[in-house]
């Protein structure tokens, strides 16, 4: 079902767009370029109006979006969470409050009354499901005796809990105690805040550097305005579209990441490619209108096909039922569409107004006087293709190799600076209470009736013992796991009248972990929750057959991660495969070739894999952690690969089509494969390296971030772009094309006949 849907849809869109773009009709891009020039002021005015309309809505988009989006309601851990909530009144969304006093003991009356006073209002709030304090559970006091741990269970989803805790905690006066609040919602809030600060700081560093690079690459102050206009207008419109779409359907916050990062990237790509062609045409002595018409025909077409190819590929993501995949696809589609529209209309109108002024206020060598190093490099590659290909491919594969050890995980509070309250609280929980060091797996057994009937107690007992046998399960906590030498008869004696149990911890277990028809078991392990072995614990527990009429539900961080990864590994590879296949078909239509699209797809994959490998080497394994100033997580934050995939795919496609379009143009003119490759590289290399340099500067600025995830995405993106424009585009791609020779352009006659005619260089 999932496989058929995206393929059919993408093929349909592909056929539609290519049908529009011309089997028998040539694209009327030249005329369109002239039309835009003649109506340039009207076009500019229209854009001003459109952007002004979009501006009020764009900033509202974040508030409409949903966090996460990796789960579906039928994921086992999501179901387990509902079971915990509905059957046992246990919430996994908690506020962990840590009350501390330098002198008072947690059981001093003054301390106790301060805690009780602090939580009194919380207890009355309808959003609060439970409040557990040290007065009913003495184990909630630190070894030092002066810190008490209070857990407030919330009957709210995570995103609502974030807003709730700020309001609820604002009313708490813990005096004379100090209070630190941590837990999921607080950490979520602080990670967001810290990331925001990081991004602001990154932007503060990136902005002047990017401006300088833009000026150097574009060569004049006036020309450097174009990427800001195309990127800015594209992002603003795309965000407004995201806002309206997210009012109708659930959209993940990841759509924002894609819109902003990909929007800036392709904005620079399109502007540079188009503007350089415009200036090239002006340098030939053409009028502004003729230069624009030529630019629209050649650069505009390359941009159009690059955008359309990326669109077709990433549209496939829309049909997946995992919200984050859909959202990444949606974000990419809207921003590419918006940027394409800006590049095809706003950009020529702007250049039409600028005219020859585009070359004014020069800050570097003139565009026409620049000489690309790609020419000499490509000539060397043409002479010794294998000598270049083999070591370069080996290097790329070596870079990608660490991917074999990729461990996906989620971040914890250690990514936060220790000046933040939630991080301080997390550290106290870890140091004083052993919190978060272990894998904790809540397991619910459902059955019929009172837990203390002979049959049910026997079933609970058997299940409790079975859990003890699960590999790596160090400890099981439940009403029937009180000791290794406890026989069923002893439990029967103990629970003959459970009300009469005087032991506070067992009484607490009875009251908190049992309900009619439901029992909670907590399985703990000393393993890290994100380790593969911890996932094995989840699998081991789920593999038990509880017997007729009973169900097992497993929740917890390890189960959550396992389920999400399981869910996505069944969809994400398929999503990638669909994107690549559809891209392959689109490029085949475009370049009338079997091999070139394959090369393009494989090389895009190599760039992405090399970036993944570098991430594992640096952020998972901790290499260069001193230099880059971070504490290794031991895992790659699991959102990073998918985010990078979409951005790198879009940018690599730009570079590939810019390059191939020039090569194809030359080949169709000369019929000389090697010469065409050299010419294509010479003409597109400067633009590709220029666009890449700007993006690398922007991405690399985020390496200075405090939050390691921000750092990782910045570095991953910078590495991927760098690898793509150096090793891949400059060396591997021309070497392969030289080796393929005329096979580059081979398409079986029967296939040529049946494929629609969308020849690029027609």
């Amino acid at each position: 079902m999932l496989f058929d849907g995206p393929v059919l849809l993408s093929s349909g869109i592909s056929a539609f767009i290519f049908a529009l773009s011309g089997t028998k009709r040539r694209l009327m891009l030249e005329s369109f370029g002239r039309l835009v020039y003649r109506r340039r002021y009207a076009v500019l005015a229209a854009w001003v109006v459109v952007v002004l309309i979009a501006l009020p809505f764009a900033p509202q988009a974040p508030d409409q979006l949903k966090p996460g989006g990796f789960t579906t309601p039928d994921l086992p851990s999501v179901v387990a969470r509902s079971v915990l909530r509905d059957r046992l009144e246990i919430s996994t969304i908690t506020v962990e409050m840590l009350f501390e006093h330098p002198q008072l003991n947690a059981f001093d009356p003054e301390f106790v009354s301060a805690v009780e006073r602090s939580v009194a209002d919380l207890r009355q709030m309808p959003e609060v499901l439970s409040v557990r304090t040290h007065t009913t559970d003495p184990g909630r006091v630190s070894a030092s005796g002066n810190i008490a741990h209070v857990t407030v269970g919330l009957d709210l989803p995570l995103e609502d809990a974030v807003d709730f805790i700020d309001e609820a905690l604002a009313t708490v006066d813990p005096a004379p105690l100090t209070l630190r609040a941590t837990g999921g919602p607080a950490l979520y809030r602080d990670i967001s805040l810290a990331s925001e600060n990081d991004l602001r700081r990154g932007e503060a560093i990136a902005f002047p550097l990017a401006t300088l690079t833009l000026l150097l690459v574009f060569g004049t102050v006036i020309a450097a305005i174009t990427p800001a206009a195309v990127g800015g207008a594209g992002v603003a419109i795309a965000l407004a579209l995201v806002f309206f779409i997210s009012r109708e359907v659930d959209v993940s916050v990841f759509a924002l990441n894609i819109v902003t990062l990909l929007g800036i990237g392709i904005g620079i790509d399109y502007s540079l490619f188009y503007t350089s062609r415009f200036r090239e045409e002006l340098a030939k002595g053409k009028t502004v209108e003729d230069a624009l018409a030529a630019s629209q025909t050649l650069a505009g077409r390359a941009i159009f096909f690059s955008a359309v190819t990326s669109l077709i590929g990433l549209t496939s993501l829309l049909l997946f039922d995992t919200m984050v995949l859909r959202s990444v696809g949606m974000g990419a589609v809207v921003v590419i569409l918006a940027a394409l529209l800006a590049a095809m209309t706003l950009l020529p109108a702007l250049l039409g107004v600028m005219g020859h002024g585009v070359n004014r206020l020069r800050v570097g060598p003139s565009w026409s006087s620049r000489r690309s190093v790609w020419g000499p490099i490509s000539r060397t590659v043409m002479k010794r293709p294998l000598l270049v290909l083999l070591p370069t491919a080996a290097l790329l594969i070596a870079m990608a190799l660490p991917v074999r050890n990729l461990r996906l995980g989620t971040v914890d509070a250690t990514i936060l600076p220790d000046s933040l309250e939630s991080r301080q609280g997390f550290d106290i929980l870890q140091d004083e209470f052993g919190f978060a060091l272990n894998t904790i797996v809540p397991v619910v057994l459902l059955f019929d009736g009172d837990p203390f009937t002979a049959d049910n107690l026997a079933a609970l007992y058997a299940f409790g013992r079975a859990l003890e046998t699960v590999e790596h399960a160090e400890r099981v906590t439940s009403v029937v796991n009180l000791g290794p030498d406890w026989e069923l008869e002893r439990y029967a004696a103990l629970y003959q009248r459970p009300e009469s149990i005087t032991d506070a911890s067992v009484s607490g277990l009875v009251r908190n972990t049992l309900r009619p028809g439901a029992a909670l078991f907590i399985v703990e392990s000393d393993l890290h929750p994100f380790s593969p072995e911890a996932a094995g614990i989840v699998t081991g527990i789920r593999s038990f057959d509880p017997g007729a009429g009973r169900e097992i539900h497993v929740d917890g961080g390890a189960a959550d991660l396992k389920d999400i990864v399981d869910s996505l590994y069944s969809r994400f590879p398929l999503a990638i495969a669909v994107v690549l296949i559809v891209t392959y078909i689109s490029l085949m239509l475009l370049f009338r070739s079997l091999l070139l699209p394959l090369k393009a797809v494989v090389l895009n994959g190599l760039s992405i894999f090399a970036a993944y490998g570098a991430l594992v080497f640096v952020f998972q394994d901790g290499n260069f952690s001193g230099l880059l100033n971070f504490q290794p997580l031991g895992v790659i934050e699991a959102t990073t690969p998918i985010l990078l995939f979409a951005i790198i795919f879009g940018l690599s496609m730009d570079y590939e089509i810019f390059l191939l379009s020039r090569v194809a143009e030359a080949y169709r003119r000369t019929g000389d494969n090697a010469g065409a490759v050299v010419e294509g590289l010479e003409k597109s290399g400067l633009i590709i390296t220029g666009a890449a340099a700007i993006l690398i500067v922007v991405a690399a600025s985020f390496v200075l971030a405090d939050v390691v995830v921000v750092k990782a995405i910045g570095l991953g993106l910078a590495i991927a772009i760098f690898v793509d424009v150096t090793l891949v585009r400059a060396l591997v791609a021309p070497a392969l094309m030289r080796l393929f020779g005329d096979w580059n352009w081979y398409l079986p006659r029967w296939l040529d006949r049946i494929l629609p005619e969308v020849r690029y260089a027609g």
């Binding site: 974040p62 979006l65 996460g68 989006g69 003991n105 947690a106 059981f107 040290h134 003495p138 184990g139 909630r140 006091v141 070894a143 990670i191 990331s195 991004l199 916050v253 990841f254 924002l256 990441n257 902003t260 984050v324 052993g434 009172d450 007992y461 058997a462 013992r465 400890r475 906590t477 009180l482 000791g483 290794p484 030498d485 004696a493 009248r497 459970p498 009469s500 005087t502 032991d503 506070a504 911890s505 009484s507 009251r511 309900r515 009619p516 593999s543 038990f544 017997g547 990864v565 399981d566 590994y569 069944s570 590879p573 992405i608 894999f609 699991a638 959102t639 690969p641 998918i642 921000v710």
Partner: protein, 375 residues
């Protein structure tokens, strides 16, 4: 730029390679995956075989679910004044082995006809020990067990100004109850030994006035993997002095139906002779009166006739103060009565009037479990 949520999510996505690899493995494994039945539990690990109690090693704490160090005593102040006291520290290990300590201190002022009570609670590290000294600190209260002397320090936090600083000497051989000092219950097992007659000296401050006190103390040390069950289960425990260094411990245990399940005891004399008593020794406890607690609503026995045929003992036991309930520092289900009593009657053909202590558990109706209909 709306960046505040840019990297905020903490959910997971797999990498391409890992995902592909896992997918292949999953497909390869998919056909072989099946549920396995919950195994029928094998025999649980056997209850550890009891071992002889070793002093002083066993004076220290053990890694068992429940343990307590308990004292009661009868003190006379220099210049007049009769007092009883009880001081106990409970150690309970929760499921992850972290200890929680609860301590209670009660003082019965016979002349003032009042019972003063306070408690302390702490979790985590409370032990301060050296090679030859075992110590516990429950906040400002302390207990130290050395080879030649035990000492306890406790105070009550109110306007009364009460403080006890007492040294007790374990001059006798410890009394091992139920034979070797170990017995089983339906919900577990316990080690149990006592020093029932320890000379005690120290300082007692009552109402801001400090007294030098002397008297006798009784020490119980009990630990094991067991639960004390509340009402209608529970026990009546009596620690009585019979004169001339002789002591008697009698316990009557009720099951959860409220019926007497077991009665046993230990007689001891100063030089270390002991005799375990069972039902066969004709132990009978007859409740002659009750006292209603206004605090908890519990009706406690408050006067008894104790007969032990095997000891030729027939005495009446009566609290010196009726209200000696311990309702602080314990869960509701574990509230108990611990009080100084007078023992008056016939023992081996002689009339005796001696002091004693009685402990009564399982008389407070436990709170219901909210999710469960009370059977």
């Amino acid at each position: 730029m709306p960046v505040e949520r840019l990297w905020a999510t903490r959910r997971a996505v797999p990498g391409v390679a890992a995902a592909l690899l896992i997918a292949v493995i999953a497909i390869a494994c998919a056909s072989g995956e099946s549920l396995r039945p919950v195994p029928t539990p094998g025999p649980a690990q056997p209850t550890p075989a009891p071992r002889p109690i070793s002093i002083p090693a066993d004076e220290r704490s053990h890694e068992d679910r429940l343990e307590w160090w308990y004292y009661n005593g009868h003190l006379t102040a220099e210049g007049g004044g009769e007092f009883g006291f009880h001081f106990v520290i409970f150690q309970s290990l929760d499921d992850d082995g972290a200890p929680v300590y609860a301590a209670q201190f009660g003082l019965t002022d016979v002349d003032a006809d009042e019972h003063l009570l306070d408690s302390r609670l702490t979790a985590g590290d409370a032990e301060v020990s050296s090679d030859d000294l075992f110590g516990l600190r429950v906040r400002d209260w302390s207990l130290d067990l050395g080879p030649d002397s035990h000492s306890i320090r406790a105070s009550v936090e109110d306007e009364v100004g009460l403080e006890l600083d007492l040294a007790l000497d374990p001059l006798q051989e410890p009394v091992r109850h139920a034979g070797i000092g170990w017995f089983a219950t339906p919900t577990g097992w316990s080690y149990y030994y006592s020093w029932p007659d320890m000379p005690a000296t120290g300082k007692l401050t009552v109402g801001g006035r400090e007294y030098s006190v002397t008297g006798t103390g009784w020490f119980d040390h009990q630990w094991g993997d067991f639960f004390a069950l509340g009402a209608p289960g529970g026990w009546q425990w009596m620690g009585l002095h019979l004169g001339e260094g002789q002591t008697l411990m009698v316990t009557e245990i009720r099951n959860l139906d409220g019926a007497v399940e077991a009665v046993f005891g230990t007689w001891a004399d100063g030089p270390g002779r002991t005799r375990s008593l069972t039902e066969a020794d004709g132990i009978r406890i007859e409740v002659l009166d009750t006292w209603h607690s206004p605090e908890t609503g519990a009706d406690y026995p408050s006067r008894w006739r104790l007969v032990v045929d095997g000891l030729d003992l027939d005495v009446e036991i009566e609290p010196v103060v009726a209200a000696q309930e311990v309702d602080e520092g314990v869960p509701e289900a574990a509230i108990y009565w611990e009080g100084k009593v007078r023992v008056d009657g016939a023992y081996r053909g002689k009339q005796i009037q001696q002091p004693g202590y009685v402990e009564l558990t399982g008389y407070v109706n436990p709170a219901s479990i909210p999710w469960r209909e009370t059977p």
